[in-house]
């Protein structure tokens, strides 16, 4: 099958190019990450990130035939119709909207900055008990669908609002984490957290486009989390 990969090495290339490779899959429905490994055997200069190869570390977010996802848990059959059969090429590009360091490797700095801005750590002003802080199963269930984020950036880099204001709009991933702490019964910094979000950009640049939901490889729903934060801000305003 044909694989077309975005190539750019700042040391030698004036501009990026798409390079074609021929890979023998023996008809198997391999994961996109397996294809990248086969390409790297042919051409070791092609760079990409990878680690766990099972969809939990978030290293290999990339754009596959136009859609963001994790290479390691995306089989060829799910990339686009015709790719597995070799009727269409597999087209791999770096995540959109972030500066490219080299090939499929993007500079995640802006993405991590926004994550850090939401103070993604538990804050509790009361002294810790000698055992764990008790939490009911119902309260704990409020964290499901939030804490599982793997920081792969598939969502934020598919979000037009983030493309436009990556420095001022926090983006779906950071906002999901913001809500993960707002929703935690053990966290007492709700007021400070909300006041930091109460400006025209940080949260309110979300226009509910929902690209984040459609690409999240973990099936999470940042738009819903953003909606919850909006409600909390509104209630606080009343």
């Amino acid at each position: 099958m044909k694989v077309s990969i975005y190539r750019y090495n700042p040391e030698t290339d004036r501009e990026p190019t798409m390079k074609e490779y021929e890979v023998d899959t023996q008809g198997k429905d391999l994961m996109v990450l397996d294809i990248l490994a086969l390409v790297k055997e042919q051409d070791e200069s092609m760079s990409y990130r990878r680690s766990c190869r099972e969809g939990v570390c978030g290293s290999d977010g990339m754009n596959m035939n136009g859609k963001n996802g994790l290479a390691c848990i995306t089989p060829l059959s799910q990339v686009a119709p015709g790719v597995l059969e070799g009727k269409k090429p597999l087209i791999l590009r770096p995540l959109p909207g972030l500066p490219v360091i080299r090939d499929l490797v993007v500079d995640m700095g802006m993405f991590y900055n926004q994550y850090e801005k939401v103070q993604p750590f538990l804050q509790n002003s009361t002294p810790a008990p000698a055992i764990e802080r008790l939490q009911t199963p119902e309260d704990r269930a409020k964290l499901d669908g939030l804490y599982e984020c793997i920081l792969c950036a598939c969502c934020s880099t598919s979000c037009p609002s983030f493309w436009w204001n990556p420095d001022k709009f926090l983006g779906p991933a950071a906002l999901l984490q913001s809500y993960r702490f707002l929703a935690d019964s053990r966290d007492t910094a709700t007021e400070e957290r909300l006041s930091k979000l109460d400006d025209p950009f940080s949260l309110f640049r979300c226009h509910g486009i929902m690209n984040c939901v459609s690409v999240c490889p973990k099936g999470l729903n940042p738009t819903r989390a953003i909606g919850h934060i909006r409600s909390m801000l509104l209630e606080r305003g009343i």
């Binding site: 099972e54 750590f121 053990r186």
Partner: protein
């Protein structure tokens, strides 16, 4: 000196659970601490841990006792775990786990609001007399992910200085062998830098990628063990490799022991629950080495499933959709993705798969690296400036076989312990050893070798060959002649790898260069494993030999110590002197 120097009080190499727990401890106390990680920390392999962290927090059972946990761990280790270290881990464990909750780790909960605990293999109440215990604290089946993200968040909060996507390539020592820091490469720019520190903490994780089939992440290439061995430092019990009973057949992806903890069980091709024959009491929750061997016997006796009869099944459907989706949601995802199997409806094809390195750099409970003492009994001698924690270390709490859930506990307890100890040393005034220019040149030589290579075999082909040698010659069952052959093949590979070729010499984000440097480390770990495995002439824990089928306490109730300079295997005493409880004496190990 030709390269830039960056100076810290302490550097931690590796951003997994152990490294980030150590760096957190030191950063909280205001010491200038750097964490060097070849991946962004939340991409570290701790993220893949599923089932939980075993600890006697007395939630599932209010009468639970850390001493029972200690008994299980000593027995699980097949009696070569150090009892002082196991005592420390099990005793301090609850405090370390409660701290994780206070940091925000989203543990699953009981109706009482306490941390949820599930049964895991090798667990008992009342020193093996009270039946199965439920002692593994869990965040659904994503405990490692929850733990790793929590620790990263706390390090952010406390101002740890991260060098993410920096690759530590070599230890820097002075002429007397004192550790001064490491040489590291900024992967993004390609710059090589000397990190100078009073304390260097290795938290580089495991090396499962020496095997062709492994549950380990692609980054688990034994960088810390490789650096230590090249520096002439010994490794301990490195022949002890855990094969996890339930890796997804073909893919190698881990399926947590928590599945069996929740009531799942293994069946052969005839649908028989075969563990009842091998471990009549504990059955599917026997220790991992026991279950892995039983599965291999089923397969070798022709009761394996599939067209090649090369796997068995993990049956979960009887647990019901609700339990599976609430307690094991990650497993359901993985099984569908990697085995095209929905565990709600059908069993998952599984096979024992390389999972964990019990051996590593020998340390005491403070993480201080122990050096060869010349084979004499007596007090341990330490490598000044070097510490090791987590999977790269052999403290040793796992001995010849690690219990499920003890790895995450090991990470936080000993990451924390090393941090506490170094803090104290720094307060008292720790020496900064100064390397000469030639010491630094020496440490740079390996990086230079690859950068100057002009022909030879490719890294990817050699890596594949190495992995297949380890898979075929040093697997679940081992045999002297087959291992001797393997050792010879590795000697040949050493020769060829020393002449291998890096084609891409570019600087920015050159992952080919990193993979080449990792190959050197894979080779060091593989060779040490091979020589140690051939040298330990008995069967104990995960090390199981056809030609020496029995445990030999007379000769081998001891650690093995591999000396990389002589390429010889020596022995080191196991600690049988816990401080607050009576010694657990070796006895026959049945489940």
């Amino acid at each position: 000196m030709s390269i830039r120097t960056i100076t810290f009080d302490a550097i931690v190499v590796g951003g997994g659970g152990a490294g980030m727990r150590a760096s957190l401890q030191m950063a909280q106390s205001g010491f200038k601490t750097a964490l060097i990680s070849k991946v962004f920390p939340t991409r570290s392999h701790t993220v893949s841990a599923q089932g939980g962290i075993t600890c006697a927090i007395a939630s599932a059972d209010p009468n639970d006792d850390w001493r029972w946990h200690m008994y299980d761990t000593v027995k699980g280790s097949d009696y070569i775990g150090d009892q002082d270290a196991i005592e420390y881990m099990c005793n301090v464990g609850p405090e370390a786990v409660f701290e994780l909750d206070h940091m925000g780790l989203p543990f699953s909960r009981t109706e009482e609001g306490r941390i949820y605990q599930r049964p895991f293999g090798g667990q008992s109440k009342n020193f093996g007399e009270g039946g199965q215990a439920a002692r593994t604290c869990a965040a659904a089946d994503r405990t490692g992910h929850a733990l790793l993200h929590t620790l990263y968040q706390q390090n952010l909060k406390n101002g740890t200085q991260f060098y993410n996507e920096w690759y530590a390539a070599e230890l820097v020592k002075d002429a007397d062998g004192n550790v001064c820091g490491v040489i590291a490469i900024d992967i993004e720019s390609g710059e090589t830098v000397f990190f100078k520190a009073k304390a260097t903490v290795f938290a580089t994780g495991g090396s499962g990628r020496i095997y062709a089939s492994t549950t380990n992440a692609l980054i688990n290439t034994g960088d810390g063990v490789g650096m230590a061995l090249r520096a002439g430092l010994p490794v301990q019990d490195i022949e002890m490799w855990q094969f996890h009973p339930t890796g997804i057949a073909g893919a190698g992806v881990l399926v947590t022991e928590g599945c069996r903890g929740e009531g799942g069980y293994l069946i052969n091709k005839d649908g028989e629950r075969f563990m009842e024959r091998y471990a009549p009491n504990a059955k599917d929750l026997a220790s991992r080495d026991v279950v892995a061997r039983s599965m291999m016997m089923e397969i070798l006796d022709g009761r394996g499933a599939g067209p090649n009869g090369d796997h068995v099944f993990l049956k979960l459907d009887h647990l019901g959709e609700e339990v599976l989706h609430s307690r094991l949601p990650g497993i359901c995802e993985l099984a569908i993705t990697f085995a095209q199997t929905d565990p709600v409806k059908e069993p998952i094809p599984v096979v024992p798969t390389c999972h964990y390195m019990m051996g590593g750099i020998p340390t005491n409970v403070h993480g201080q690296a122990i050096k060869l003492s010349g084979g004499h009994e007596g007090e341990d001698q330490f490598v000044n400036g070097l510490f090791a924690v987590g999977e790269v270390a052999c403290v040793s709490v796992h001995g010849a076989n690690r219990l499920g859930g003890n790895s995450l506990l090991d990470l936080v307890v000993f990451g924390r312990a090393a941090g506490l100890f170094i803090e104290d040393q720094l307060r008292q005034g720790m020496t900064q050893y100064e390397p000469s220019d030639s010491d630094i040149e020496q440490a740079l030589s390996r990086v230079r070798r690859w950068d100057e290579s002009s022909g030879g075999e490719s890294v990817s082909a050699l890596r594949k060959e190495l992995q297949s040698v380890m898979q075929n010659h040093f697997g679940v069952f081992r045999k002297g002649d087959l291992m001797a052959e393997g050792v010879a093949k590795l000697a040949d590979l050493r020769e060829r790898i020393s002449k291998a070729h890096l084609d891409d010499k570019s600087k920015p984000f050159n992952t080919a260069r990193i993979e080449a440097l990792e190959l050197d480390n894979l080779l060091e770990v593989a060779e040490a494993t091979a020589i140690a495995a051939e040298g330990r002439t008995e069967s104990r824990g995960a090390h199981s030999r056809y030609d020496y089928p029995d445990r030999d306490d007379e000769n081998w109730l001891c650690h093995s110590i591999f000396d990389p300079t002589a390429k010889k295997l020596g022995k080191r005493e196991v600690n049988f002197k816990p401080k607050t409880v009576d010694t657990f004496q070796p006895k026959a190990r049945t489940y």
